[in-house]
Amino acid sequence: MTDRIKEQLSTFLDGELPEQETALLLKRLERDDELRGALSRYSLIGAVLRNDGDVPAARQVAARVSAAIAREPLRVSAFVRLPRRDALLRSLAGLAVASGVAFGAVLIVQQVDSQDPAAPDAVLAQTSDPPIEPVSDAADAADDPARIYVTPPATDAPGRIAPAQLANYLVAHYGYATPLVRRSVGAGLMSAPDGSVLVDVAAPEGKADP
């Protein structure tokens, strides 16, 4: 135990130690018996000085209380709540994650929708669809920004998700989906109007049957 630590202890006893140093000192106090002894003696010195009389030296009180408290359940006050700012940040963070997941899902579904239905076994990541290029009429757009648009790739697919491709995607990412999503997407697959579902989602390897 260095003098610097003991000086912190002395300052802590007087309630003058900054909050951050206090947190570190408390952690050290938990595991340093010598430091605990010093704190106890420093407080004893103060008690003797202030009372100018007989101050009994507590021998085992702190150790016994500490042992008893360690067995106690954690007691958190109802008065102590998360600061509103923290709670708000947590809510916003959760919302941001949820939004990101939803946005990603929409993009993926759009990609699946744009693939050639003639190649149902194609792995989504290996598709070679022409890149989507923004096309704009610069002159018109300058006047009317709403006219800027994205040209979808040419495809013969009907306006729905190809079941086999979606099934492949679903199987490949099954582990990342929530149970609710699994059920709803799976149910959608199974009820495809053309009945062309080609995948056994319960297959151990998670691969689609052709």
């Binding site: 003098d3 003991k6 000086e7 002395s10 300052t11 802590f12 006893l13 007087d14 309630g15 003058e16 130690l17 909050e19 206090t22 408390l26 952690k27 106090l29 938990e30 018996d33 605990r36 002894g37 010093a38 704190l39 106890s40 003696r41 420093y42 407080s43 004893l44 010195i45 103060g46 008690a47 003797v48 000085l49 202030r50 009372n51 100018d52 009389g53 007989d54 101050v55 009994p56 030296a57 507590a58 021998r59 085992q60 009180v61 702190a62 150790a63 016994r64 209380v65 500490s66 008893a68 408290i69 360690a70 106690e72 954690l74 007691r75 958190v76 006050s77 109802a78 008065f79 102590v80």
Partner: protein
């Protein structure tokens, strides 16, 4: 007062689930609580049991502590009630002293030892008092003034710095060096046969 603010900060930590903070409060106040309890129960071992019980009760009640009063005042009330209850339970009458519950430190110090106190406890208590007083007298003037202003007058470091016309950092250092010098003498007492250093916690 900064010390009270420091106590409240520790209390808030306990209320958030930090048991180490309560440990620090126990280390800080155990001697004063024990002294208070011994106004009611003279037997040292019994007094330590009651002091321990008082701290555990305080820990359990701490989630409901709002900080309307100083922590030590609240703690002393618990200690006094615990001591009284222990006396009732043992069907003994409490020793009557005038206790100012609004300020737990203003306990009359004229009570002397009873037959139930051991000679060892008596010797240790007297030796501690003598040693601390001698060590204070032996301190250089600047260290003695700093610790007296802090412990007896209850001044903040900032006020002590103004009084002694020095930086706050110097005050902090002087008070620490004063405590350390007194503590060296105390450790010699505990190591010298009246009690082992490990006994005092």
């Amino acid at each position: 007062m900064r010390a009270e603010a420091g106590d409240i900060a520790l209390v808030r930590r306990v209320q958030k689930g930090d048991k180490a903070a309560f440990d620090a409060l126990v280390l800080k106040y155990q001697h004063k609580v024990l002294k208070l309890v011994q106004r009611y129960v003279r037997n040292p071992a019994e007094a330590e049991d009651i002091a321990q019980e008082a701290f555990i009760k305080a820990y359990r009640a701490l989630p409901a502590f709002r900080g309307d009063s100083a922590f030590y005042t609240w703690l002393y009330r618990i200690a006094i009630n615990t001591a009284k209850n222990a006396l009732v339970a043992s069907r003994r009458r409490p020793v009557s002293y005038d206790l100012d519950l609004q300020d737990g430190t203003q306990v009359q110090a004229h009570a002397r030892l009873s037959d139930t106190e051991t000679p060892e406890a008596l010797a240790l208590t007297d030796e501690i008092r003598r040693t601390v007083n001698e060590a204070i007298e032996a301190l250089p003037d600047d260290l003695r003034l700093a610790i007296v202003l802090r412990e007896l007058e209850g001044l903040s470091y900032e006020d002590i710095a103004k009084t002694m016309e020095c930086p706050v950092g110097t005050v902090r250092s002087r008070i620490f060096r004063a405590r350390e010098a007194i503590d060296r003498s105390l450790r010699e007492v505990f190591d010298g046969g009246l009690g082992r250093i490990g006994d005092i916690e």
